[in-house]
Amino acid sequence: MTVTLANPLREGLRLARTPEPASLVIFGASGDLTSRKLVPALYNLALQHLLPASFGVIGSARRAMTEDVFRAELHDAVAEFSRTRPINEEVWTTFARSIRYVPTPDESGFNELGRVLARVDGEIGANGNRLFYLATPPAAYEPIIRAIGAHGLRGASGWSRVVVEKPYGHDLDSAMRLTSVVQEVFREDEVFRIDHYLGKETVQNILVLRFANSIFEPIWTRQFVDHVQITAAESIGIEERAGYYDSAGAMRDIVQNHLLQLLALVGMEPPSAFDDRSVRDEKVKVLRALRQIAPEEVGELTVRGQYGQGFIGGERVVGYRDEPGVAPNSQTETYVALKCFIDNWRWEGTPFYIRTGKRLPKRSTEIAIRFRVAPHRIFTREASEGLDANELVIRIQPDEGISLTFGAKVPVQGLRIRSVNMDFGYGESFMVDAPDSYETLILDALRGDATLFTRRDEVEQQWAFVDPILAGWHAGRQELATYAAGTWGPEQADALIARDSRTWRRP
């Protein structure tokens, strides 16, 4: 039975985002992501009344585990990792009743999963709506997707969707292969590729800033913008992820997905609507216009670095090669800086400098738009010594906000001009805790809104940009530089931007 008529009681309610009843199947349910992010996000959605009146969560992994143990582990994970604390036991208790666990070590496990899904469907009136979440190591994505197909786990009625975690492939070929496997079972519009940066409020705010205001767009072009700097700095090292990180590196871990997404959001043309198709069409367009860096050019346009020992916040930390699980001669980069260009009408000749690194002095993700200096100087050089070009900075994390620097007269006799800062903090203006990005993204996937997820052609463009750089590095065309932990990256990165008579911002 399908009921298409809208619920007349919904109108005017502010929580207009409650999705339809559905079952959420999490593969990799015994893993770190599930306990740190997914289940705390679901619990917080339940607290905010954002989950449907009837909802089922079915966890699955290979290991055998009783439902009681599974629920107890998730309880403790929520108590530890939820953004709201302490855990509300009343709410947890009824929420936990909707959680099941089905081990899927083999074919019979998937058959059992099918039976459980059918039963849950009947109980909660989910009408066959199912969201599959792949939270396993990437090697397991393909077998699980095939098993979903082979065992008929898609409901007979209702919708089925799949959320795929990062990393999505490790190069263009593997990403395309993964997509072709996914498409044996799911249509492209049923595939939700996670880039959790897109779930951050401030990242969405880039679009609001640009396209809900009329004052920024006219100057958002090569005529007014001197250059753009995008920085994603982390102070942490690789924590316990050596196995994954040493084979991936900063380029695959951060640049290919998060930084190219930020670049696309800053550089894209205005979409005609805020919906999944229009927004993603524009992002793909700008990614296509991103000028490839050929393997022969990596010496000139890229820097790769690896941290050595140093100090973070006063504490001595080891160098990358001394981290547990890292090969002592590892060539993996923990720092990347690139200079790139978008070859289109708007951005012709405007450099985009992007950089990311681990063990940098502080955690900060930001986008800085540096404007050109005023075309004609009417003040003396002496008066305007303290004056910089205008700069608009969008701070993504931590301390989300926007600031604008401009020149102002110092209140003394005579003329002295200084750069001052006009600062807007989201925290101070709205004073609410922003939801975690996983809350936003899970809710969107349940509602079928793919705007904040990466489309197939986007992922492919991103890999198509990154692959030749990796190939150039592999061919030894750019040395791996080292930098001391707690500094802003290797000297070569300063040289990269200094060649254009510019400097990196200090975030």
């Binding site: 039975m1 619920n7 309610l13």
Partner: protein, 377 residues
Amino acid sequence: MTVMDEAFWGARAGSIDALERELGRLRRAAVAHAKERGQALARASVLNLVVYAEREIHARRAARAVADLALRHPSRAIIVLGDRSREGVLASLQLHCHVPQSDGAQPVLYEQILARVRGDFDERVASVVIPLLVPDLPVFLWWTGTPPSDARHVDDLVTLADRLIVDSADFARADLTLPEVARLARLRVGITDLNWARLTHWRELIAQFFDVPTWRPFLDGITGIRAGFAVDMDGRDIHPSQALLLLGWMASRLGWRPVEALAPSEAGGVLFKMARSDNAAVMVRLRPRFERGLDTGDVSGVRIQAALGRESAEFVIKRAPDQRHATATAVVGGVVRAERVVPLPALGIRELLVEELAIAGNDHVYEAALAALMALA
């Protein structure tokens, strides 16, 4: 009197210009104070909030709620205290301002101004408020008590405002509450009734039952509604307006017509018969209940009965396991199909205002609910 006043309301200023100067001084002092502690002080106002009160205790209560609120909505608050107690006194104006220093992790600049107007002030009150408004930010006017139906100062202040906030639970006469709110519509301003805001969670929970596609058809088969509302221990203060609004909301959304009021039922309750669009009857019972920990008039529970062909269903929301939680249960064909507990946060003035300030437009659903109730009366 003045000394006490200054302790609560802040430094006194002789004129509006002097007040602005004093605010500038206080602001610099607050910035310096924050700097000493290595904090940056944000002056990020998002709205002007004008509070109108005629009693000192209302003004003080409002001031405290607004100061609290400033943590969420940095604002300039202008509290107008219309003091009619001294007749015959010449109109006078007394101004105070205040930049409270928060010691929280994130200091916020929040400015509070008290304008005490005495005597025959109806004509001049707007002229005090206008120069104090921060330009370009929306103006919310919060009227404590019942706005008089025909008064110059109401119209003048409302004209300045983008939104009028009232709390119909505070209106002097419970039986006249809803007609009085309906009358405010003439003011041509978006109205927020905090008593309606208290229903938001209830509406949300009720609506969510019918987001389930297999349960949605029961909306067309509702046969009865029962709702409880809180009264005090001796059952004297009967204020069903919140429960009535909930009913008005369902009736307007589902197209029910009033048929008859079947006498006030036991102990101040109300019993109605309504008709669905297919003319079948819906029996409605609103019952007062003594509930510890609830404010008078708060909804204590809702039970919706429905039948579809031979299948019956019941959708129940109770305050359980305690007043701060709701248990929402769906029973279809005699079987519990879903039951969950969600938090039902206590809604003080501050929380209600936060909710309401986040939206800017008119609430047509509220207006329709009100209209449905007027038809019932």
